[in-house]
Symmetry: C2
Subunit: 450 residues, 2 copies
């Protein structure tokens, strides 16, 4: 079980030499997650050869499901329809959905048509759930038994069923298929053979509806330290389970999404995504950024007259804007992370906003004092320092504090992602208000500055 | 098991009315994670009352361990030494470490002195591991048996042992205590009573050394879809296990850390951290930011003469800097996230850097063209557009692409956190180079601009 490190170059050479037997021996003891990493370094024809080898020993599905989401479509595009459909037979139900989801629309239909009707129906049901819903991720691979089953009867069922992907809980359902209890496997192990499941089950277990948001389900699992979450539809009918590996994937995906959204990035824009695809995804955000920067610049243009009189102002302008931008990003980060971890509810939001503004105003007082002294020492004009300090308090204290805290909360209340472009928006605002407050105050006190 | 929502206001009222019986009835069916949330809304004397009630029914440790890390020290400071030491008796070993870790140095000694010698020794061993090592997080609550134990013998042991915090695997150790195998509990359930553990165990299981970095251990668990990771010390002696709830905590903590570090925030600076503590933690970062901003500003001061001649330049200056800053943040985010998720090794780092520079240069070409046209339409001078576009290519393309990709990688290779202040550093650089490239080019082409 301890994974052997795979020699990627040697595997490639054996593939090119046409030695499937030796490739198999090489990868034989490797974990599917390690074999999947091989695909990253292979050329198209080598991908096909390796797939055929894995396919011949029925390990193809187990390996491909480990591929990062940005690589899977490219790899699947190299495999012909019939093999792909046959591979599905060996895939777990939730992985089937992942594969089908990664195919272009028209190919999806072709592959589904090649699958046997039962499996097709099951996959079609799962992909009918909206993106982001737990129904989309769940596996239908679980064991549900009636409450009058004995411990021994349950053990026999487990034996019959053979390998289950994951197995920590037995689910107990009534005649209508509604979830009524759960038996941790530990309890089953130590139970006398004739005790029934209804005597040892935990009643009314934590569950999620098929339409529940994946992020919310992940929070449920981590808050209550569950190992699997049963998924039910109307009338409480048990239809699937979400397992820990799904939960970890969700948590990682949501964190990536938050960091990405703040910077104005699409989730699929990963480190090895092809250049052209990255450019296509980043361009709209850059244009938005260009717009917010131009807005800030137009504020500067109002004050060209002032700058014409005291050109030294231009040196200090970026300080007020830059420090404000970072303060706003800090505040937005704290708020976005608290929302993501479920630490901040709307009821206490005003407290959070107030606190952030307090923190920012105090920091602005300190930073303003420092920069005022520095400016005085540098340019020898005490009024320049006062203008700088005041602008810092307005921009870093009020604008950064308020916009950093409010924008994620407003986005959330409008049912957008709270992180969505927030970095670009708050830095745009603090640039504009930084210039406005500094150059505006400088214009007011112009006679003292020149 | 399905959690009831707790009425915080009613609980407070019952606490103040001195009705512990009714408080107990109210919180009786609640999950510890939900009861812990109560503490957020309580005054100091109410905290003490609630603690006493939980203490009396031996639920205090189970509830307090669910508190967010930023609240725990404040709550513990309200509880007297003796009660705290007695509460430890009911805590899981890994939670004991969490509690002790949250105490101020001198109180830690006092509490340890009040504990019985066995427990004290165990806790002292765990807290001797360096911060961030898995040894610090592991629980010593697991079942390890000898290889010749029969399935029935193992089941008897489980029964004897009573409740274990988590239980998915039986560990098999040799006479010296070295880990030699693992038996998933499912296999135990279906095994004939006389089969020995050595006949059904998975040999040479994935394990981690006590000193392994927590983040690395979490990646191991999620990559290989384990439910618990055995922790060994020299000679492979099994000393503990890491469970899924730890792994989820690690993953959430590391994501918070990355987002925070980018913006220049300390991990303990959470949404409801007291204002004064937040200020203390944010101030050093703000001063660093003030320094980088001042550096960028001093670049501007070199060109005051140029600006004096063509004051319109000052309007476009922030656009080159701002768009560059965002481009660098995007690039740094992609790289930092790839490092965190283990998708990027040093061997392929140059490929990643090259890709990011390509993407940035292409985006800079597009953004430069747009802004060149806009500037021409606005100010009627085609040379201004050319200077802007060239500056954009230098700053957004080369400086942002290179610094965004290289800085996290360099920090990582120096064994710092790759996210450490990277937001502040890259925006400082793109500000400085944005001004330098734009104003520098403008000075060169000054005769065409005025």
């Amino acid at each position: 079980m301890k994974p052997a490190t795979l020699d990627h170059e040697m595997t490639r050479e054996l593939l090119r030499m046409g030695r499937p037997d030796r490739v198999l021996r090489l990868i034989g003891k490797s974990h599917p997650a390690d074999i999947a990493l091989l695909f990253k370094d292979l050329e198209a024809n080598e991908v096909r050869l390796l797939f055929d080898i894995l396919f011949s020993v029925r390990r193809a599905a187990k390996v491909l499901k480990e591929l990062p989401a940005d690589l899977l479509p490219d790899i699947l595009s190299l495999i012909d329809d019939e093999k792909l459909a046959r591979m599905m037979v060996w895939a777990d139900p939730d992985d089937e959905v992942t594969f089908i989801d990664s195919l272009p629309e028209e190919r999806r239909e072709r592959i589904l048509a090649l699958m046997d009707p039962d499996r097709r129906e099951r996959v079609e049901e799962l992909i009918s759930y909206p993106e982001g819903a737990v129904g989309r991720l769940m596996t239908t691979d679980y064991l549900a038994l009636l409450p009058n089953t004995s411990a021994q009867g349950a053990i026999d069922k487990i034996r019959e069923r053979g390998e289950l992907e994951t197995f920590f809980y037995l689910y107990v359902v009534n005649d209508a298929g509604a979830l009524i209890g759960v038996v941790p496997i530990r309890n089953l192990v130590v139970a006398p053979p004739h005790r029934t499941l209804s005597e040892m089950m935990i009643t009314d277990p934590i569950r999620a509806d098929v339409s529940m948001d994946q992020e919310e389900a992940a929070r449920l699992v981590s808050k209550y330290e569950l190992l699997a979450l049963p998924i039910v539809e109307q009338a409480g009918r048990l239809v699937g389970i979400i397992t820990m590996d799904d939960v970890i994937d969700i948590i990682n995906k949501e964190s990536t999404e938050d960091m990405y959204r703040m910077a104005g990035l699409e989730e699929e824009d990963r480190v090895f995504t092809p250049v052209t695809r990255s450019i296509r995804m980043r361009l709209p955000w850059t244009l938005l950024n260009l717009m917010t920067a131009t807005l800030a610049a137009s504020v500067v243009s109002w004050f060209e007259g002032t700058i014409d009189e005291v050109v030294a102002l231009v040196t200090f302008m970026p300080i007020v804007a830059g420090v404000g931008g970072n303060g706003a990003t800090q505040t937005a980060t704290v708020i976005i992370r608290a929302i993501a971890l479920g630490e901040l509810e709307f009821s206490s939001a005003w407290k959070a906003v107030f606190k952030q503004v307090c923190v920012n105003v105090c920091i602005a007082l300190a930073a303003g004092t420092v920069i005022a002294f520095a400016a005085f020492l540098w340019k020898g004009n005490p009024f320049l320092g006062v203008v700088l300090a005041l602008a810092m308090i307005i921009n870093l204290g009020l604008v950064a504090g308020l916009s950093g805290a409010l924008i994620p909360l407003v986005l959330k209340s409008l049912r957008f992602d709270p992180a969505m472009g927030s970095g670009i928006i708050v830095t745009g605002l603090t640039d504009a208000f930084g210039f406005l407050s500094f150059l505006g105050l400088a214009t007011l006190f112009l006679s003292y500055l020149s």
